[in-house]
């Protein structure tokens, strides 16, 4: 991979990390309503996706995809701060504060929104793909799915239908080892999700989701396959999330150390870049720049007004108004 491209991906990973760290700090101070699921630790997976999906594609992000959402917004429209504002439930958010962390969407950048009913869009993505196919468009329809959602019946309905209809669906499976506190190997017949997908007959690959170069190339290959009209593709990212469960850490100390210190996606990329002669100061500057940008986004979100109360009953129906209180 070219040095410049790797630096771009590095910047994106730092944008995600800074976003989530900034958000987490605000959440702890009680400034962010609702629940918080962060993508900390999964930056390489999300940066790889963001760098390969076009605004004309369609992706369904999962609940840890603030970073992917912000990158899509920033790359295609230059307004990543609207993802932050959405998480603060503000009128300037991508959904005017009505969706929040679990339902941020903007189809003009390819973001079709998350489902807080985990994994439901595993079947919704089929329709976006089918429409693209019927219209002869080269759109890739991508579902970002956690390992936990593989337990849904919809997982199998979806893979089967995508296979029999040869649909342009990209299954980006984020296997971070756990669904809340249930280890992937206890919740499923295999700890390798590809094993459960292979029977449907389309390509199923695994990649180290913390290795940015490998992840980027694997995503590029998957999307190339789909754009060439060859049907669905399943890619499993092996990664790990920093966030444990609500009451703190529950995973073995050695495991935590491995993923946070020895196999952290940003630290791994630091090494790669330094090997290629990038100055440590330059890397530190990137980190600082992204934190500064996120500080601006947080300020924007905090200063933005909340939604007007008339929005409480807006857009229930296309053809009827719903009465207020």
């Amino acid at each position: 991979m070219e040095r410049e491209q790797l630096l771009d991906l590095y910047r994106d990973m730092w944008l995600i990390r800074a976003f989530e760290q900034g958000l987490e700090a605000e959440f702890e101070q009680g400034n962010v309503p609702g629940m918080l699921h962060t993508g900390l630790g999964q930056e390489a997976t999300q940066a790889a996706l963001a760098n390969n999906l076009k605004a004309s594609d369609a992706f369904f992000p999962d609940h840890r995809c603030h970073g992917l959402n912000a990158l899509a917004q920033q790359r295609h429209k230059g307004d990543g701060e609207r993802i932050m504002a959405e998480l603060f439930a503000k009128s300037t958010g991508v959904c005017g504060g009505k969706g929040g962390s679990l339902h941020s969407a903007d189809p003009s950048v390819g973001n079709f929104g998350d489902n807080a009913v985990e994994g439901s869009y595993l079947v919704t993505v089929l329709g976006v793909a089918l429409a693209a196919k019927m219209r002869g468009e080269s759109r890739v329809a991508c579902a970002v799915l956690g390992d936990g959602t593989v337990g849904r019946g919809e997982f199998h309905e979806s893979l089967n239908m995508a296979a029999i209809w040869d649909l342009p669906v990209f299954y980006a499976c984020v296997n971070n080892g756990y669904a809340i506190a249930t280890p992937v190997g206890e919740g499923h017949a295999s700890a390798d999700i590809v094993d459960l997908a292979r029977g449907y007959g389309f390509p199923c690959e695994q990649v180290d989701g913390n290795d940015i170069v490998a992840s980027h190339d694997a995503v590029a290959k998957a999307i190339g396959h789909i754009r060439a009209g060859k049907g669905p593709y399943f890619l499993e990212f092996k990664t790990w999330r920093w966030q444990g469960i609500f009451a703190g850490e529950f995973r073995p100390e050695a495991e935590v150390k491995y993923w946070r210190e020895d196999h952290d996606p940003i630290l791994m990329t630091d090494e790669l870049l330094i090997d290629r002669g990038v100055d440590a100061d330059e890397l530190a500057a990137i980190e600082q720049q992204q934190h500064a940008l996120i500080a601006e986004w947080i300020a924007f979100a905090k200063e933005s007004p909340p939604p007007d109360l008339v929005k409480a009953t807006a857009d229930v129906y296309a053809q009827w108004e719903v009465g207020g209180r």
Binding site: P107, F112, G113
Partner: protein, 346 residues
């Protein structure tokens, strides 16, 4: 949009007039789908065995031959994927029409209907619509047993964002289905199985019957019966019987269950001062309860008797024909409720 008149006296099946041969409910739906497919390039049909076979009830017959397998799509037994496909396609501007073979199977795709179809417009701040139609065969009376006979409108009544359409006769079925296809909101289109063979005059060509508008199926002055689907012809039969007893009954066919036409309903009750709500589903928590509550809330001073209720018993639908008859309400129950309401009047 032109409204259509309800055929107030559908011919009983054993005494069908030879000429002119009226159109069946099934054929009216089939015509609507054909006209819709012809008019809207973005429309497609999807469901189990709807293509070459034409569906379990023959509603999609011949459309596969005419429009091809791309636009008339058979699926595996995957209800969640059928409706998920519809929602996703609708989010990018297609107009899918799904067939869920029996309404009892809506549980398999409930999440897609309630959490996605009904909410993508709202939760994403108007950035998406879900212009899809879910056609499904509902209702009892033919020995289908507990999993092929239910009236499911109550399962969806509490879900903002969904439109529930429930025709009672062929002419409305055609016009309402075309209006549902045109609708930018998701429509659950209920087809009562006992009505598939009902016949009436059906206008030729493309027309729509407005969503959200009830029809006065019969005018009267003493009492209003409000009904949907199969309860409408039953209410009309009961009204004839009561006419002979000197009671003039008005029958309101709601046609759209959500959002329902409160204006037409309440105007009628304000005029007659009495109401009976007829409903095939169990009594608790369904359409009958909603309508009865609404009438009491808004017409209390005009009412000369409490609203009468006709409902299914609070039980699943059993297989045995006499047991099923016991559970489901019929025209005799409606006539009885009308008499009781008349007698209870102040």
């Amino acid at each position: 949009m032109n409204d259509t008149q309800l055929d107030a006296n559908p011919a009983p099946s054993d005494a069908r007039p030879k000429k002119p041969r009226k159109t069946s409910f099934t054929k009216a739906l089939n015509d609507a789908l054909d006209l819709g497919m012809d008019r809207f390039d973005e429309m497609f049909l999807i469901g189990e065995d709807i293509a070459e076979m034409g569906g379990d009830f023959g509603v999609t017959r011949k459309l596969w031959a005419k429009y091809g397998a791309e636009r008339v799509r058979d699926t595996p037994l995957s209800e969640a994927a059928i409706i998920g496909t519809c929602v996703g396609a609708a989010m990018v501007g297609m107009r899918p029409v799904a067939e869920i073979m029996f309404a009892d199977f809506l549980g398999e795709c409930y999440d897609q209907i309630v959490n996605n179809a009904a909410k993508v417009r709202y939760m994403f701040d108007g950035q998406f619509s879900a212009p899809l139609v879910i056609r499904t065969a509902c209702g009892g009376g033919f020995g289908g047993g507990p999993h092929h006979s239910q009236s499911v409108e109550g399962w969806f009544l509490n879900v903002p964002g969904i439109v529930i359409v429930a025709p009672s006769n062929p002419a409305d079925a055609k016009g309402l289905l075309l209006a549902s296809i045109e609708s930018d909101d998701p429509v659950l289109f209920l087809e009562h199985k006992a009505l598939y063979r009902a016949r009436s005059d059906v206008p030729d060509g493309y027309y729509t019957t407005p969503l959200g508008k009830a029809a006065v199926a019969r005018t009267g002055t003493d009492l209003t019966v409000v009904a949907t689907m199969r309860m409408v012809p039953m209410a009309l039969t009961a009204a004839e019987e009561l006419e002979a007893e000197g009671v003039s009954v008005e029958v309101i066919d709601l046609r759209t269950i959500r959002p329902y036409d409160a204006e037409t309903l309440l105007e009628s009750v304000a005029k007659t001062g009495r109401a009976v709500v007829a409903n095939e589903a169990p009594k608790i928590g369904g359409l009958g309860a909603e309508l009865s509550a609404r009438i009491h809330e808004e017409c209390f001073s005009e009412l000369s008797a409490p609203v009468g209720r006709v409902d299914g018993l609070d039980a699943p639908i059993p297989f045995s024909v006499p047991l099923e008859h016991e559970v489901l309400p019929d025209e005799t129950d409606i006539a009885t409720a009308i008499r009781a309401t008349m007698e209870a009047s102040r």
